[in-house]
């Protein structure tokens, strides 16, 4: 697959972030002074690691033998037939070890932590997938691990809480604020400020202060690189459209990044439309947000006119966040990526359709992307290709989804 590796023109056409850690007007480093040193240290360590063949080799080796990469690019024929339009392919990140794309970044960052000589890692988690991925990588590499999780999310994702504890991580319930992902990040930042000398914060998405959005993107970009090679091998051309769900936006950037320079590829990011487009009832930052700074980066933020951060809602804990990665904000402004949303109801319908037609139970996050595939594919030609990122598997969501789909049954 190596022969396709260099055909991406992203780096020439999309030279972000700049030296200030910005993507256009977005991004930057907005943290209390205590953490500035750690961000500088991380940037240096990452720069060194990126140029260190031994580090890259070690990472590639773990990705192959431990994570199971490359993940398949699967032609979803029954969904394709059902929708009656474009050929639908799933990039199967749900088949990566731990069941989601999150392991790509968690493993990379835990290797960095080891390289920096930090024996302890902390992480925030929403749906629990990033927490599980970090707990996994920490177990693999012998690091102490503590995961902050909103109390409401712990309730939604009990199975993942147990998985993390099984692998030796300590899971800390966060009772502050809305008791979800945003509050877990606040608590992780507080922990990091107190323990910065011996702790690395494994931030789970392409958000937060520079260099996190860049590091996480680079570790996730393997998804798009593999997709390019696999699709070229299967059909000999690029896709017409790529679709991925966007919470913080790491699985979407992971799939899209390699193709940003390919103008013929339409890209669609799908946010959580929740119950309705009213404040507090959704997490669609591009539809309902405005310019703001939350948790280290300037981006689109769901907030009120006083700059106070708004509450969010989504059936999927992983998309339930008030801001979005700064690189996405920039791509929204330049219109390189199109953003839309899927409601809770549409996601739950897609969740069931995919399970029934393909025998693949998607994560509720990924189900938002499937909902967009359902809207788009029928209007496209039969020789068009859509690649959708199946960012995670839905085992973790079965109990939660059952409350909506079959409330009378005791799951």
């Amino acid at each position: 697959m190596k022969k396709y590796a260099n055909s991406s023109t992203t780096r020439e056409k999309h030279p972000w972030p700049d030296i200030h850690g910005r993507y256009g007007r977005y991004g930057g480093q907005y943290v209390p002074e205590t953490l500035m040193y750690a961000l500088g240290e991380l940037e240096t360590a990452y720069g060194d690691a990126a140029n260190d063949a031994a580090f890259q080799e070690q990472l590639a080796d773990y990705q192959h033998h431990y994570v199971g990469r490359p993940t398949p690019l699967y032609h979803a024929q029954r969904i394709t037939e059902h929708l009656g339009g474009a050929q639908v392919y799933f990039k199967r990140e749900d088949l990566a070890h731990t069941g989601a794309h999150k392991i790509n970044n968690a493993l990379g960052q835990c290797l960095l932590a080891k390289r920096m000589g930090k024996p302890r890692v902390i992480a925030e988690t929403g749906a629990g997938q990033h927490g599980v991925a970090t707990a996994t990588a920490a177990a693999l590499l012998g690091l102490d691990c503590e995961v902050y999780m909103g109390a409401e999310d712990m309730d939604r994702q009990r199975l993942n809480v147990f998985r993390m504890r099984l692998m030796g991580a300590k899971v800390v319930a966060v009772d502050a604020g809305s008791r979800t992902l945003k509050d877990a990040i606040n608590e992780a930042l507080r922990d990091w400020a107190a323990n910065v000398e011996h702790t690395h914060y494994v931030l789970g998405t392409v958000h937060g202060p520079h260099p996190f959005p860049m590091i996480c993107r680079d570790f996730q970009a393997v998804i798009g690189r593999e997709t390019r090679a696999q699709l070229t091998e299967a059909v000999g051309r690029l896709p017409n459209m790529m679709i991925a769900c966007v919470g913080g936006g790491s699985n979407a950037i992971g799939l899209f990044f390699d193709f940003l320079g390919d103008d013929s590829v339409t890209m669609v990011g799908v946010e959580a439309g929740g119950i309705e487009m009213a404040p507090g009832m959704h997490a669609a930052r591009f539809a309902g947000g405005s310019l703001g700074m939350l948790q280290g980066a300037v981006s689109y933020v769901l907030q009120d006119e006083n700059g106070l951060i708004g509450n969010t809602h989504s059936v999927s804990a992983g998309l339930d966040y008030a801001s979005v990665g700064p690189e996405h904000a920039h791509c929204f402004d330049t219109k390189r990526i199109e953003y839309t949303s899927a409601s809770d109801e549409e996601a739950l319908e897609a969740f069931q359709l995919c399970s029934r037609l393909e025998g693949i139970i998607p994560a509720l996050e990924s189900a938002h992307a499937i909902a967009e595939v359902i809207k788009r594919a029928p209007g496209m030609a039969a020789n068009d290709i859509i690649v959708m990122n199946m960012s995670g598997r839905g085992d973790k969501d079965v109990q939660h989804a059952a409350r909506f789909i079959a409330p009378e049954e005791d799951v």
Binding site: Y30, V31, P32, E33, T34, L189, E197, N306, G307
Partner: protein, 273 residues
């Protein structure tokens, strides 16, 4: 001349340390916070840090987080804090430093905020999550309107960063004496004296020390080695424990007086009834 700069000049002439209490604006209510601010000024506060409540206070420990939440619950915003400052200003000349997170100012608009803050009688602003590296426009706006900017220095700040921080601070540097968030601690950081000396040398500015100072004895020790002593959570806790009682401001002032006495024992600090 800016009230904060003036106060620091006078203190330095008299070889005294500044007593800088923190309260959260709107906890328990804005009118009571205003009474507390005036009372703190009367018992010897040199600068009052007036906290602007925020939904996501990443730099704060539980005590100030909870105070912030109480204030938000009855609708306190950056705008209403400016109104509150205006009312304090009619009753007191005590220097006022807003202690805030960046997003409310960013959304308000830096230039508009600087103008309105100056008009309300704000003397300075400290933005917890705005390091000087990202603050050029913000500083320009504040300077245009004569509002003093204070930035944080931390134990993890390198000498090079301290120099940059010093250059961005108009009157004094706020040194976080410990890693972590705001909150009371049983003991002071070891080697604080040497740390403060390093910050003073590298920034070239007077140094106020905060984070973790909660007792008169700790305040006295810090006053001996730094130009200012910040006490936050301990005062906020006294206010929280008063639980809205009619004498809340007297209780806060009585506690603050013990701190003021410890910091500058030669001056009388009395709670007016």
């Amino acid at each position: 001349m800016n009230r904060i700069a003036q106060r620091f000049e006078t203190l330095q002439e008299n070889k005294q340390a500044a007593f800088i209490p923190f309260i959260t604006g709107g906890d328990p209510t804005l009118p009571v916070s205003e009474d507390i601010a005036v009372a703190l000024g009367d018992v010897g506060a040199d600068v009052i840090e007036y906290g602007v409540p925020f939904t996501d206070p990443v730099g704060d420990g539980p005590v100030i987080q909870e105070a912030s939440l109480r204030a938000l619950q009855h609708g306190v915003t950056l705008r209403s804090i400016l109104g509150s400052v205006e009312r304090i200003r009619k009753r007191s000349d005590v220097p006022l430093l807003l202690f805030t997170y960046y997003n409310p100012i960013f959304v308000y608009g830096e230039a508009a905020f600087a103008r309105d803050a100056a008009a309300a009688g704000v003397d300075g602003v400290l933005c917890v999550d705005l390091p000087p590296d990202n603050a050029q426009e913000y500083r320009d706006a504040m300077r245009t309107h004569g509002v003093s900017t204070v930035f944080l220095a931390a134990p993890t700040s390198t000498d090079e960063r301290l120099a940059r921080i010093g250059a961005a601070c108009d009157t004094f540097v706020y040194y976080i004496s410990r890693l972590g968030v705001t909150g009371e601690r049983a003991a002071l950081t070891r080697n604080l004296h040497a740390a403060v000396d390093r910050v003073r040398t590298c920034t070239g500015k007077p140094v106020a020390v905060g984070f973790g100072i909660s007792t008169p004895e700790q305040a006295r020790q810090v006053a001996a080695i730094a130009e200012g002593v910040v006490v936050g959570s301990a005062i906020v806790r006294v206010i929280a424990e008063a639980n809205g009682a009619p004498d809340t401001s007297q209780r806060a002032a009585a506690f603050a007086a013990t701190l003021a006495n410890a910091i500058n024992p030669d001056i009388s600090h009395q709670v007016s009834s």
